[in-house]
Structure formats: C-alpha cells, structure tokens
C-alpha cells in the first residue's frame, strides 16, 4: 500500500524480526528495533490545562526513548473503559516521561480525563510515520486547530535539538479563551505564538487558517515549512490556501482507528488519484503525518 512507497529518513527504523519473539503482554521489555510494545504504566501525573484538556504523564523510559515526533500510541485503561483503544499523538517525550495532551470528547476520553494518579493504563506503540526531521527549513510554521496542538510540543522540541535549529512559530486556533490549552505558553520551544479564538475571547478573532493567511499576506512563509494538525475541515481549508503558495507541508490527520498498525484496515483515507493507484491510504501506516498532496481532500466520505 501507499506506505511502502514513501520511504524516507523519517520513517521508523527498519523493522527486524525478533527471533524467539516478544514476551506476550510484556512487550515493553524487549521490543524489536522500531518495534511495537505494550507498556503497562500507572498514570504518573495529571494537569488540567484548559476547559476540557489535560496533560497526562507516564514514566516509561524505554518507550519514551523511542518516540519520533508525530507518532502516536493506542491508549487503553485497565480494566478497559472502552472496547477499542484510542489513538493519541505523543505530545512530548523527554527524560523518560511521555506526555499526552488529552481533550475530553466522547466516552473514552471523558473516562480518561477522570482517571487518577496511579491508575493503570496500557500504552501500545509507537505507531505511524511522524514529521520529517531531515528536511528542516529556516522557519517551521505549525498550524494547530484545537487539540491538533498535541504533536507540536515534541516536534518543536526535536527541531530545536537539530544541529541548525529552525525558528519555530505556532499558529493556534481554539473555540474560546476557556478552551485554550494553558500549556502553550509553558513550552519554551516556540519562538512566536499566534493565538486565534472563534469568539475573539483570546488572541485574535478567527481560526488557525486565518493565521496562515495573515502570515502568507505578510510574506512570512517564504522559505518556511508547514506542519499542520487539526480537524479535517480545517486541514481541507488550509490545503486550498497552501496549494496556491506551494509551501512544503506535512499534515497530521485523524481517522477512526481499530488497531493502529495496519491490520484492521479501518483507517482508510481517500487517496489522491493523481498520485496513487489505490483508492485509500491506511492512515496508521501511511500517516498519521501525510504529504497533503497524497490525500483526496474533497472526498464525500470525509467528515
């Protein structure tokens, strides 16, 4: 499938089969290089950072050491509160700690937001292709819609760790002041933050795409590389603007995920027929970070 074609330095390290296999249920101990593990972890920390958002922290050094920015985990609780695990971008991974940025939305995320320190979780992963770190531009412009903010903490951190770190700008759109994730300001890796809210209660009135338009109009996107994450409609609107400018970009997308690693075929994202022989990409393998030109944004099945 599409995943096979897009080989590049940013893909997970070439997988090797572990002879003798993994100890079942204890994958965390001895994962293959680039391998997937099932890590049992107690919730180590929990901070409310907005009306319906939380940072959840887990101390899982082995897993944390293997996260590439933009990768995600399938997260479950014990005993399971939902049948399927839920996909979450890793918001940060440093000093042996993994941080998720959670927005409570439906049954599963609501239940997650209620868990207390010490409660048992299952972290399965890491999964997917993250953002490219091998093609840095002088300026990295991140466009985050709502909880789409999550992967940009770790991306900013890792970009800043490069030999020649780019400038990192964040355009962050939210519903309202209350929804704004307080954590944004706490992270030192952003050189500039432009906040937009739909009701104008914080930052400028508007959305993240308006922010993109403003930067474009000011000519501040020349030589920049774009990284975007947010609801489908936002990305679709962004793509219309971006295409005109031709700014190189990567978009982190969402689709329902049954497994996270290619076996359920649940996470189909319509492929751009101009670039693909197949009708769909499996987002969990081909993405979640996609080259936007590979996606058929206008497909009627998309939300």
């Amino acid at each position: 499938m599409g995943a096979q074609k897009a080989g590049a330095a940013h893909e997970p390290a070439a997988p090797t089969c572990v002879p003798g296999g993994q100890i079942p249920g204890s994958g965390g101990r001895n994962p293959a290089p680039g391998g997937v593990s099932l890590t049992h972890a107690a919730l180590a920390g929990r901070e409310r950072v907005g009306l319906d958002s939380w940072f959840l922290h887990f101390d899982v050094p082995e897993l944390a050491s293997r996260i590439l920015p933009g990768q995600f985990l399938m997260v479950g609780m014990r005993p399971p509160a939902t049948f399927l695990k839920r996909p979450f971008s890793v918001a940060d991974a440093a000093d042996g700690r993994i941080t998720l940025l959670l927005r409570s939305y439906g049954e599963g995320t609501l239940e997650m937001s209620r868990r207390r320190i010490g409660d048992p979780f299952e972290l399965l992963g890491p999964f997917g292709r993250g953002f490219r770190l091998d093609a840095p531009a002088a300026r990295a412009v991140m466009i985050a819609g709502g909880i789409g903010l999550a992967p940009f903490y770790i991306l900013a951190r890792r970009l800043k760790e490069l030999p020649t770190p780019p400038q990192v700008w964040l355009v962050y759109g939210e519903r309202s002041r209350e929804a704004v994730t307080a954590g944004v300001e706490r992270v030192l890796h952003f050189d500039r933050v432009l906040t937009y809210t739909e009701d104008g209660s914080a930052g400028e009135r508007g959305n993240a795409v308006d922010g993109f338009r403003r930067l474009a109009a000011a000519g501040e996107l020349t030589g920049a590389r774009l990284y975007a994450c947010g609801p489908h409609r936002m990305l679709e609107a962004l793509e219309v603007e971006r295409e005109r400018l031709g700014t190189p970009a990567e978009y982190s997308m969402e689709e329902r995920m049954g497994c996270g690693f290619g076996i359920c075929q649940g996470c189909a994202v319509p492929a751009n027929p101009a670039h693909s022989a197949q009708a769909y990409h499996l987002l969990c393998k081909a993405g979640p970070v996609m080259d936007p030109t590979r996606v058929l944004w206008s497909h009627p099945a998309l939300p």
């Binding site: 499938m1 997970p12 997988p15 090797t16 089969c17 572990v18 002879p19 003798g20 296999g21 993994q22 079942p24 249920g25 994958g27 994962p31 293959a32 290089p33 680039g34 391998g35 997937v36 099932l38 479950g76 399971p80 939902t82 049948f83 399927l84 695990k85 299952e122 399965l124 689709e255 329902r256 995920m257 049954g258 497994c259 690693f261 290619g262 076996i263 359920c264 075929q265 649940g266 996470c267 189909a268 994202v269 319509p270 197949q278 009708a279 769909y280 393998k285 497909h299 009627p300 099945a301 998309l302």
Partner: protein, 325 residues
C-alpha cells in the same frame, strides 16, 4: 511446546500437523508482515491471510469501523491487494518467517468462477508460497445473483464448493457465516462436498446509527459484528456442528483469552482463531497459546482429551433445535 510448559500442543487437522491450535483470523492479521516488529509469527499455530480475491479491491469508504457495546462493527469491504500482489509482495516474507505448515490462505470471489480461479492459482503456487490449507470465505455477495450472500444460501455455497474442490487438492476449510437459522446444513454440505473442515464463525450483521448525523454511522451503512459478543454464539455453533459432522471445526469468534479458546476446544473445535482481540492487544494470540499450555499442565491433560470434552458428560441434552428462552 510453549514456554516452560510440558504440554504438547500439536494438533492434526485436515491432514496437516499444526504445532498448536491457535491461529489468527482472516482480516485481523493483515498478511502477517505487519507483525514483524511485534513478535515472531512462527510461534502461532497458523496465520490465515486476509481474504484474497483474484485482483485487488479498494474496499468501502470510511468510516469503516465503529465501536459498539461488546465489540465492534467493520465494513472494510474485503479490501485486499489481490492474489498476485500477495504472491509477489507478501508471500516471500511469510515463506521466510513461517514454516510451510503454518500458512492458511483465505480466498473469495464474486462468482463461483472467481472462487475457482483464485483457488487454482493458490494450488499452483502452493509450494512457492508455502500454503498448508485453503480457507474459503463464503460470506460474500454473489454478483451474479443480485448480491445474495453466498454463505446464507445452500445452493450457492454448494456451487462454490464444487468449483473449488475440483481444482485443488489443498486441505480445504469452509468458513461459515453465522447469519443463518442453522449452521448444521452448511457444515453437512461442506462435508458432503469434500471439504476437510469448517471454520466458524464469521461476523454477524450489524448496524449503528450516529445520533449526530442521524444516519448509519459506517460509510457502507451496515457492517460485521466481531469481538466478545460473538463468543457465546461461536461456542454454541461449534457445539452444535460438532454433534452433526465428522470433519474438524476451527472455532472463531470473540476469543481474547485462553479461557475463551478453551471453551471452543471443549465444545469440539480442534483449533481456534484469534480475531479482533489482536487489535486491542497484538500479543493476544501468544497469550492464548501460553494459557492453554498452562491449563493442560495444571490439569495434567492432553490437548486431545480436551477437544470435545463438553459433549461427554453434559447434564442435560442440548435439544435438537436448541430453542432458548
């Protein structure tokens, strides 16, 4: 053998010796290679491939999966890379990582002729790909007959079986749909037509309506129900079919733990398949293997003693038409 256990888990089925009775189900393990970074697939009893058609299929539009109480619905729509792409791009990896006795190739078609054609090709390439057996997915709409589900129609099922049986000497398993009043006639038919075993069950019809959009949630409308909900249904039909036919049964549906698999074995299955559980926990199949070994150790039993034991000393008869309620 498994872990430090003394139990011999090897089982003979349809003329093939499998090193253990725990397989992974079609459509829930890809083509095996997605597990290369997860565990050594050669530990499994067998890997059953995603259903292969002659040519590739894109499958249904998203959303393709939905969570429901007690399991999930899928409307993948039999998306698959097609037999030839499988042979070229996936089989070599499997050949390298899986002993030949451990690959079961699952196939289907839109017509009886397509079934025959793909079966013929698998047969011709059996040594090359290392196929131990063929599993027929008959839960497919027949395009020549107004889309009737073949697996819900005895005549169409017979037609498919005859076409396939005529062109292959590979051990043949027929995978039955639970969307029927009775699975026994289908199992009997499979036996009559020379199948070497039956796998049961495939998914149940289901639908979920999205209250926001007020329309069926899945892009395709309806889907197939899998997961824990299927456990009692699959065990029931395993028990019933075991009473009716002599060919072996491969039990499927809702297996996530060794305890679930043991129910199927006791009800008469000679092997089982772990399906949806691999999504939640990719190591589920290995845990099932180890758990069965531990159970046999603890009770000092042979696998053969376990298989079908529930029939031996049942307190009451399960009546012919097991009408519940």
């Amino acid at each position: 053998m498994s872990g430090g256990s003394a139990a011999n888990l090897a089982v003979e089925l349809a003329g093939v010796r499998f090193q253990n009775p725990v397989w992974v189900a079609s459509g829930t393990f890809g083509y095996g290679d997605d597990f290369q970074t997860i565990f050594d697939v050669s530990r499994l009893g067998a890997v059953v491939t995603k259903t292969l058609f002659l040519g590739p299929r894109d499958g249904n539009p998203p959303p393709r999966i939905a969570e429901v109480g007690g399991g999930m619905l899928n409307s993948i729509g039999l998306a698959n890379i097609g037999w030839e792409a499988f042979r070229e791009r996936k089989a070599p990896w499997l050949r390298q990582h899986l002993p030949p006795a451990q690959l079961v190739v699952n196939v289907a078609g839109n017509t009886a002729e397509e079934y025959r054609e793909v079966a013929l090709r698998v047969d011709a390439a059996r040594a090359e790909v290392g196929a131990a057996a063929l599993e027929l997915n008959i839960s497919c709409p027949n395009v020549n007959e107004g889309g009737t589900n073949i697996g819900c129609d005895l005549r169409l099922t017979r037609e498919v079986l005859r076409e396939v049986r005529a062109v292959t000497s590979l051990p043949l398993l027929v995978k039955l749909s639970p969307n029927n009043a009775d699975l026994v006639p289908f199992a009997r038919l499979a036996e009559e037509e020379g199948a070497d075993g039956v796998s049961l069950i495939n998914t149940l019809y289901g639908m979920t309506v999205d209250l926001h959009s007020r329309r069926p949630f899945l892009g395709h409308g309806s889907g197939g129900l899998s997961g824990p909900s299927l456990l009692p249904v699959g065990v029931f039909w395993t028990y019933k079919v075991h009473q009716a036919v002599r060919i072996p049964i491969v039990g499927i549906g809702g297996i996530a733990r060794a305890e679930d698999a043991l129910q199927y074995l006791m009800a008469g299955a000679r092997a089982v398949q772990v399906g949806t559980a691999s999504f939640l926990n990719p190591f589920a199949s290995l845990e099932v293997i180890d758990g069965i070994a531990r159970f046999l150790d603890r009770h000092r039993m042979d696998l053969e003693e376990l298989i079908g034991v529930a029939h031996e000393r049942r307190p009451q008869n399960v009546p012919a038409a097991a009408a519940a309620v």
